[in-house]
Point group: C2
Chain length 109, copies 2
């Protein structure tokens, strides 16, 4: 049982968003930006912004596209709220279902 | 959208269990104990144990019963793993459904 509770807590933590991640998502709803531009606008380090973007990408809240503007790099943009919300919840629900099922099997076995 | 993401994160945090909460649950699976007994066994302060027990009660993982053994007080015990798991997941799922629904309404409105 402890193992199941640990797995659940770990999973929930993955889906939690910090205030700066929410701010980045909001900002990207208005315009597509590079990590450097985001960092400047929000007064965060670029390293932190890249970390947060990675998390937002994993959760399906933002997407990126490779552009060539003299330099080659990624520009990030936010997925439309409704689409993003649906993606996030369906991912969360299926992850929870998997833990629950595995948990029930473990408790039976 | 930010409001929805904040509500989601806050809710997920409520369902997260720390290592000491998991230990308390485990301990109570073996025997029913008072907060003081739990504190002694795990080397935690009684105040912390009471906080954690409150959280575990809210999540439906433990229950308590008032006993009179010369002193009057609560004795805590763990719900059976399968029952506890089902209660926890059904609570989590219904809370998430509510946020998702509210979120969708907000995004439509």
């Amino acid at each position: 049982m402890e193992e199941i509770l640990r797995a659940l807590s770990k999973t929930l933590r993955v889906f939690e968003l910090g205030e700066s991640e929410i701010k980045i998502y909001s900002l990207l709803q208005r315009e597509a930006l590079t990590p450097r531009q985001i960092a400047k606008t929000l007064g965060l380090s670029e390293r932190i912004v890249r970390e947060k973007l990675k998390h937002l990408l994993e959760l399906g809240l933002v997407e990126r596209t490779l552009v060539n503007r003299g330099w080659l790099g990624y520009v990030y943009y936010a997925k439309a709220p409704r689409e993003a919300l649906q993606a996030l919840f369906s991912r969360l629900e299926s992850t929870l279902k998997a833990i629950e099922k595995e948990g029930e099997l473990k408790l039976k076995g």
